[in-house]
């Protein structure tokens, strides 16, 4: 191909832009969507980590500050100005909003990641089993996942959580994981069925490869883009479910989470008292989280499906 490469003259600005697009086309991981999405999520994790080091987290306890103080630069209905001691304001029981989100935001992300991780692992296991073993096992797994997909998770989880009462974050993640394994199971089963017929799996069988080798060394690496995409979609679903439960007043009672904060704000009538920072800040953070996840998902789509990549 070397003789095809011609111009060595300095590039114009348009040509440089074109070259940049082409590089991005060649290396899909240099995807602006992916980078922005990852940036937003890392930002939330950093908020948790750096906040813990720099901020006095004791302010998270009830009555540690004045009640219903606005963020700095604003006034509440009682004409009290915001103070730098609580830069994002305080809630109805005097808890510092900044401390709440430093602890709460990573908690919500944690529930989502853990639930999705457990769901994915179950899905990989069941999907491979169904695709490989086939027959009766396949029927059982397929019917089970198809049925589970039709059940609205919130309905069941509300019943579960109200009977459990106070749960830990991990417990909540486990419960949610029970509802996010179906789609990876179906996805992986379908991929395994088609890959089983592919030339390289036949070649591996000819090479005397064990079933384990075929599954994990030949097939799984090629599934990675799908798994990533499915994982991120699951994190989103898990966070939505978790926040949904928390906003209903279920889930962990003593640990600050973004959903719990919104629940308390609604419960205390923050909307009519114009305490916008109380519900607004956690909602904004959730928004950022979802946009981040969405961008990562779109970016990964382009990585795994070159046809979506555009040159212009």
């Amino acid at each position: 191909m070397a003789d095809h490469v011609t111009d060595n003259a300095p590039m114009t600005r348009a040509e440089k832009r074109q070259a940049r697009r082409l590089r991005r086309f060649e290396n899909p991981w240099l995807n602006p969507k992916l980078m922005w999405g990852a940036g937003l999520l890392i930002g939330i994790v950093m908020l948790g980590l750096v906040g813990r080091m720099l901020w006095n987290l004791d302010l998270v306890f009830t009555g540690s500050s004045q009640l219903k103080l606005p963020p700095v630069g604003f006034e509440n209905l009682r004409k009290q100005p915001g103070v730098w001691g609580t830069p994002l304001g305080t809630d109805g029981s005097g808890r510092d909003m900044l401390s709440l989100i430093i602890i709460g935001a990573p908690n919500s992300l944690f529930v989502g990641l853990l639930a999705s991780l457990i769901g994915m692992s179950t899905g990989i296991f069941l999907g491979f089993t169904a695709g490989f073993v086939g027959g009766r096992t396949d029927d059982v797994i397929r019917v089970l996942s198809d049925v589970m997909i039709t059940i609205p998770p919130l309905l069941i989880l509300v019943v579960f959580q109200s009977s459990f009462g106070d749960v830990s974050l991990t417990m909540m993640a486990l419960l949610i994981a029970g509802f996010v394994w179906q789609s990876p199971t179906r996805l992986i089963r379908a991929q395994v069925l088609s890959m089983k017929q592919s030339g390289y799996v036949q070649m591996a069988r000819l090479s005397g490869a064990s079933t384990g080798h075929i599954m994990f060394r030949e097939m799984l690496p090629n599934l990675v883009p799908y798994l990533f995409g499915s994982f991120i979609a699951n994190v989103t679903t898990s966070i939505v479910t978790a926040v949904g439960l928390e906003v209903l007043g279920l889930g962990p009672q003593r640990i600050p989470t973004l959903g719990r904060t919104i629940y308390e704000a609604i419960n205390a009538g923050a909307l009519i008292q114009n305490l916008w920072w109380w519900w607004g800040i956690p909602t904004l953070l959730l928004g950022v989280m979802f946009v981040g996840l969405l961008l990562i998902n779109l970016g990964l789509d382009e990585v795994s499906n070159p046809r979506l990549r555009k040159l212009s």
């Binding site: 191909m1 095809h4 082409l22 030339g199 390289y200 036949q202 070649m203 090479s207 005397g208 690496p221």
Partner: protein, 581 residues
């Protein structure tokens, strides 16, 4: 040289066309300064290897180059219209009504959820909106009739049609607006020889009737010789030779054209194999026959893919047994039964006296080591996640042949050299960086490293460029004597089977219809089905017109005859016994 046709205005004039694709590593020039003129009613073949720019040139006429490709120099003139000056809407109107494109694998381009008729109507309505329903019906019926399909086909869905019928529907779709130019891009590459001949005849007939120009893209010199008037030979984006078929086949000037013509194996022609390598084959340890089929049959639901078949391959002297037939004849089923991938419905397959379906784990590994395969599709055989050496290294270690990494590396390099590849260039590449021919040779190298006793080669060269077929087959052939490997060669290509095999079995609908030494079976066929196959081969020889069937050639009569005729046995060879029914 083509002057007698130049009184009328040409259908298509390509002047100094260059097409380039900007990539991160610089601009790739896919087509370089190509000049070509196509006259009314003429059929022009574009021939060359994959990547030679034949499809790219054709697509530029339709303004359908894949992003970011562009025509950098030259002009395209379609019957007086400058194609490159048209905007998107004008181009849309031009496509199909003035220039039609029948893509490669056109049979998969029909919409699976629409009946045939509305798909034909869509084509008319897109160019002549407001055409009345009765008019549409009349025109679609006429188009179907003109490609030799009954009109009720219009009421069917694509999945209800055979490959050949779908391809004809695509031709009907291409000619429904009587274009000035038809571009057919390997229209028969997915069809077997018998259907290929029918479809090509349909295409020729209809092109003659509407008097349009035809560009036929392909890599099969035989098909070209039987189908076109003029040939344009392309290599690396350059037009290396252009002239009438007669000129090019009888007196090719460019060495590449000469290569293309000589690389087509002919029945009865000169052998492409190297006859000198006759090394003494290693002796086998076992006295049991290498492979034995004992009343093996395979039934899928209500379809019998393979009728009971018994044979014994002794394997003391390495031999090549060819199994020949059309798609659906049961030849690939036979291959997968031999590999133990597919259990037979009745009977048993014995490898060195052991039933394949009752092997212990240790015996199974031993069997895998001794029976290897080369599959049809070199593109699918490598895991895209690994470098290609994974496919060679892994089985070598798995079968305990390796004595350390250095030894493995050396064995891999030797195997590569043996099939004519440079190990430094190929071994550390990823599969997508290699061509189909390189990959297929690597698969042969892989089999060589494992030195099995039996190699099952299932259409090993059908997806490889014509010029490489002979090389790969002689690679496989050389293995036979050098390493004492018996080979079962499964193919639809009678010409190669004629040259490489010691014994040929012709399979038709799961039955062996003719069997014996290749000189008898293929050189002088007795069974009507074998004759049909031989007649369907397009010969790169103008004096030998496509078989002796003529214009109204209809294989259905011969097929019916073939069904009623019994098996013809044409003699035996030592070491292989086919049990006669």
């Amino acid at each position: 040289m083509l002057d007698e046709h130049q009184t009328e205005r040409p259908v298509l004039t390509l002047k100094d066309i260059s097409i380039e694709f900007p990539t991160p590593r610089g601009v790739v020039h896919a087509v370089k300064h190509l000049d070509l003129t196509i006259h009314k009613g003429r059929r022009v073949g574009f021939i060359g290897e994959s990547g030679s720019g034949k499809t790219t040139t054709a697509l530029s006429v339709m303004q359908m180059l894949a992003e970011p490709g562009r025509v950098s120099t030259g002009s395209i003139d379609l019957g007086g219209t400058d194609i490159l000056a048209l905007d998107e809407e004008e181009m849309r109107k031009t496509r199909l009504s003035r220039v039609a494109y029948i893509p490669q694998g056109a049979m998969n381009s029909l919409n699976p959820i629409m009946r045939i008729e509305p798909q034909l109507w869509d084509a008319i309505l897109a160019h002549e909106p407001g055409t009345s329903r009765s008019d549409l019906k009349a025109r679609s019926d006429e188009a179907l009739k003109s490609v030799g399909l009954p009109t009720h086909v219009g009421q069917l869905y694509p999945h209800e049609l055979s490959g050949g019928m779908k391809q004809r529907v695509c031709i009907a779709l291409g000619i429904i607006l009587t274009p000035e130019l038809i571009i057919a891009d390997e229209p028969t590459s997915a069809l077997d020889v018998v259907t290929q001949r029918q479809v090509m005849q349909t295409l020729k007939d209809i092109q003659e009737r509407i008097g349009s120009g035809l560009i036929l893209i392909g890599h099969d010199m035989g098909l070209m010789a039987q189908s076109v008037d003029e040939l344009a030979v392309l290599k690396d984006g350059e037009l290396v030779e252009h002239g009438t078929v007669q000129q090019i086949i009888e007196a090719p000037k460019h060495p590449y054209t000469q290569d293309l013509i000589s690389s087509v194996p002919l029945v009865g022609g000169e052998s492409f194999l190297n006859p000198e390598r006759r090394a003494e084959a290693p002796k086998r340890a076992s006295t049991e026959p290498l492979l034995r089929f004992d009343g093996v049959s395979k039934v899928y639901g209500s379809v019998t893919a393979l009728h009971p078949l018994s044979f014994t391959l002794q394997g003391d002297k390495p031999q090549i047994i060819s199994i020949v037939g059309q798609s659906g004849s049961g030849k690939s089923t036979m291959g997968s039964i031999m590999l133990g991938f597919n259990p037979p419905t009745t009977g048993q397959v014995l490898f060195e006296g052991r039933d394949l379906q009752r092997l212990s784990a240790v015996q199974s590994l031993e069997f895998r080591k001794n029976v290897q395969a080369v599959f049809q599709d070199p593109y699918a055989c490598f895991n895209p996640f690994y470098r290609v050496n994974h496919a060679l290294k892994f089985p070598f270690k798995q079968f305990g042949l390796s004595q350390g990494d250095a030894h493995t590396q050396k064995a891999m390099e030797e195997a590569c050299v043996a099939v004519g590849l440079d190990p430094d260039l190929v071994l550390s590449r990823y599969p997508h960086q290699l061509s189909g021919g390189q990959r297929q040779r690597l698969i042969v190298a892989r089999a060589l490293m494992l030195s099995p006793k039996l190699l099952i080669a299932d259409e090993p060269v059908s997806m490889v460029d014509a010029s490489l077929r002979a090389t790969i087959l002689s690679n496989i052939y050389d293995l036979k004597d050098k390493y004492g490997i018996s080979i079962l060669y499964i193919t639809h290509d009678l010409a190669t089977a004629y040259h490489v095999s010691d014994y040929v079995m012709v399979l038709f609908k799961g039955h062996v219809v003719e069997a014996g030494p290749p000189k008898a079976v293929i050189g002088d066929p007795q069974h009507p089905y074998t004759r049909l196959l031989i007649d369907s081969i397009p010969w790169p020889d103008l004096k030998r017109s496509w078989g002796h069937g003529g214009e109204d050639w209809d294989p259905s009569k011969e097929e019916a005859e073939a069904l009623s005729a019994g098996t013809v046995y044409r003699g035996d060879v030592e070491g292989f016994d086919l049990v006669k029914e």
